[in-house]
């Protein structure tokens, strides 16, 4: 959940690509100034929000904490800030011949901020901790592909699954083995083609010995191995990071100190940027987006970039609401939505109309997978609906959580559907996100409802498997298609990334036939900054690239 309100738009947090390649580790020292890069050193303030959990990488699934975690932890893999392409960070090499047995060599000479070495054990222990059910880590499920995950989970029923016989059988994952100080092996229970790509997600961060001695204290003052270290976390006010002088990696930052100032409201953060009281805001309020006001307020001090976020409209499972069971009805509704006009009028063009279910920023993206079904064509839509025998229900409903800005676009979408199909459509506000999600999770919500997805790692697989695979954790529409599942399994077994991506694309194409959800648009992030800073870049995850930010 990002920000308390926006949040809501997106799902699991992102593995935030922190620092761009090629900027050097910033060890030049002193204040050197260059025309393009600005000077080294100094301090900046950026907009922050309240972390929802203690700052432990495996227990952080939202962006507020994630932005901090990603600045203070380095992972095996780093995602390029521009392209989201994965590249080795702490990993010397990740090798496999069969997509099931991986040998990972860790670079030597890296240390945590407390001086202890980053070794193979730092990773294995951290991943075991994340997976072990009784530790109740919110991103423990990222360890699911690793062999032995099932035995580390509690199996009991009722209030406490870890009570009595339900207690987890094993404390560690059988698939993880330390070979020597800097080598370990990973065995997955099924073939996984993109394991290396996943390893850049924050849940796969290494943890120092100090964490296991006192996890609670660690959560308040984490000790990381990233380009920055945490100096202070003033609850609900600010989080202060300073340069980690023990950092030896390639993705260091230029500024010495970063303060996340916690704002309740994006308007006040924006006004602070206008008055040069805040250096960067990663969210431009709706009031400043109107007629591109932010562009005249902050000339040459704003940027916009597509990020790995997609907004969709999901149909309730057929057993909950049979009125939408026919794929033709679903396709007709999708074709009745004038995405471009809604985007222009409601979002001032800050979205990109979707042509498929996968974000364009990831590896394996193929354009126009949804084809004509995501193209506005009221005549065809109407014809398709007639062919399907018309809409049987009373009216089409589109539910949204009313505590965030979804009312306008859902109503516009409904109007578009109503005009094209001649069937009444109403946007239904549900009081807040918590209620909204419980109704969906309990399978009580009928009709259509808004869903969003923010990628965890930049792979086409992340937009398909967790959402549309039979029984997947975020499969809100209970979509199940054996052919789709089979393609995913085959793709995971491909050792050639290009061949794997091709299979995933074939699977995505199946979605157009069944239409489990309607792709609406891809997200873009807009940022603005004060006239004190330069080199502000947005990563594919919609976060600030701290390796390039510098004072003028």
């Amino acid at each position: 959940m990002r920000g308390t309100t926006r949040t809501v738009a997106v799902a699991a947090m992102s593995a935030v690509a922190l620092l761009a390649a090629g900027c050097g580790s910033g060890d030049s020292g002193g204040s050197t100034s260059s025309a393009a890069g600005g000077q080294t050193g100094g301090e900046i303030t950026v907009r922050g929000c309240n972390p929802q959990n203690p700052l432990v990488p495996s227990n952080t699934t939202e962006t507020c904490g994630g932005n901090v975690i990603d600045a203070i932890f380095s992972k095996l893999i780093h995602y390029d800030a521009e392209t989201a392409k994965p590249e080795n960070d702490l990993a010397e090499s990740i090798e496999t011949t069969d997509n099931q047995n991986f040998t990972i060599k860790v670079k030597k000479g890296n240390t945590f901020a407390d001086g202890t070495d980053v070794t193979a054990k730092s990773f294995v222990d951290a991943w075991n901790y994340a997976a072990y059910g009784p530790n109740a880590q919110s991103s423990g499920y990222f360890m699911e592909p690793i062999e032995g995950f099932g035995d580390t989970q509690c199996t009991g029923e009722g209030d406490d699954p870890c009570a009595g016989a339900g207690m987890a059988k094993a404390k560690t994952l059988t698939g993880l083995k330390v070979v020597d100080d800097y080598t370990f092996t990973v065995k997955t229970s099924e073939k996984v083609s993109n394991l290396p790509v996943r390893l850049g997600y924050s849940a796969f961060s290494p943890l120092p010995e100090a964490f296991f001695k006192d996890p609670k204290a660690f959560g308040d003052k984490p000790i990381g191995n990233g380009p920055y270290k945490l100096d202070a976390w003033n609850k609900e006010q600010s989080i202060v990071l300073s340069k980690n002088d023990k950092y030896k990696g390639d993705f260091g930052g230029k500024v010495d100190k970063i303060t996340f100032k916690i704002y309740q409201d994006s308007d006040s953060a924006y006004n602070d940027v206008l008055a040069n009281n805040l250096d960067i805001t990663d969210e431009i309020p709706a009031s400043a987006l109107i007629d591109d006001k932010y562009k005249s307020d902050l000339p040459d001090r704003n940027a916009q970039k597509e990020t790995g976020v997609i907004q969709t409209v999901t149909f309730a499972p057929t057993k909950v609401d049979p009125n939408y069971a026919n794929p033709k009805i679903r396709q007709a509704i999708s074709m009745a939505i004038d995405r471009d006009t809604i985007n222009k009028q409601i979002f001032n063009g800050t979205r990109k109309s979707a042509t498929g279910w996968v974000s364009p920023v990831v590896d394996g993206y193929k354009a126009d997978q949804c084809g004509e079904y995501c193209t506005y064509d009221p005549a065809k839509a109407k014809a398709l609906l007639t062919e399907a025998g018309g809409f049987k229900g009373d009216k089409i409903t589109l539910s949204y959580n009313a505590d965030a800005a979804h009312k306008e676009w859902t109503e516009a979408t409904c109007n578009s559907i109503k005009q094209a199909l001649g069937v009444d459509c109403v946007a239904v506000g549900v009081v807040d996100f918590a209620t909204f999600r419980s109704q969906i999770a309990d399978r009580k919500m009928k009709g259509m409802f808004r869903t969003g997805w923010q990628m965890d790692y930049p792979s086409i697989e992340n937009f398909l498997a967790p959402i549309f695979k039979t029984g997947a954790s975020s499969n809100d529409g209970d979509y199940s298609n054996p052919a789709f599942d089979k393609l995913l399994t085959e793709a995971a077994a491909e050792t050639d990334p290009a061949a794997a991506n091709k299979k995933y694309q074939e699977a995505e194409a199946l979605l157009a036939q069944d239409m489990p959800s309607i792709p609406m648009w891809y997200g873009k992030t807009t940022m603005g900054w004060s006239d004190k800073v330069t080199g502000v870049k947005i990563t594919a995850f919609g976060t600030i690239d701290f390796s390039s930010v510098a004072l003028k």
Partner: protein
Amino acid sequence: MGTYVLRRLLQMIPVILGATFLIFAMVFALPGDPLAGKCGERPCSPAYAAQFREKYNLNDPLLVQYGKYVGKLAQGDLGQTYNNISVADQLKLRYPVTAKLALLAILIETVIGIAAGVLTGIRKGGFLDNLVLVSTLIVISIPIFVIGGLAQYFLGVKLGLFPVTVTSSDPTVYQLLLPAIVLGSLSVAYVSRLTRTNLVENLRSDYVRTAVAKGLTQRRAIGIHALRNSLIPVVTFIGFDFGALLGGAIVTESIFNIPGVGGYIFRSIRSRDGVSVVGAVTVLVIVYLVVNLLVDLIYGLLDPRITHD
């Protein structure tokens, strides 16, 4: 007087217990699961959910939950928010900020409001009277987020006279001045109108005529006799307003990013964080009761006919 105060203090205990229970029950009755939005748009893992429910007693029935809460409350433990932050620490951090802001706003509304009320009251129908009438009418009719937003943009961003946001948990008077003016502006209007009407009324009364006939100066007749009697409804209003301001000014706090209790309560309600809501509101109930008691005691000072024995 002493017994009166003691009696009032003892009466507070059942009120506090009743209020906490009502709030507890209301938060409990809200639809939605606090865990539903906790892990983004996917369900939390069963182990995480179980630990979370266990920790916050979410599996217990309402009365048991309430019992456990009051048990802790009696020991001075306000519990922890769902974000794992101590409620007591948060309140300790936020109440001084809100109190500072409230006091400043009350000071502004009292001084300006009463002064304007007196000036307009003694020259009823004059230019100043009409000016205040029109300007207060304008202030009353504009919603506070418009006043706040405009003040922040023009006085803060454009002219740079005031800081744009506060953010600090130990703000200076200068930092809080603009939010306090915004917050007090609405009440200034009410206070000045209340003072004016009451003063006009009392100026016509017999005792003022007597005082003037006895040869008292205009200043003394109005200042001591008429004004003091006119202030009773004004003090009631200010007392009520002070209590309300201590509950946090959600809109103003969010415009100026002030880390006060208003935003805290609002966010806690939205995230179904019952423990935080009940903790903050319990303190609020106590504050209200104390302020009410103070107002009642001030009545006695203003009008000797009102006694508390």
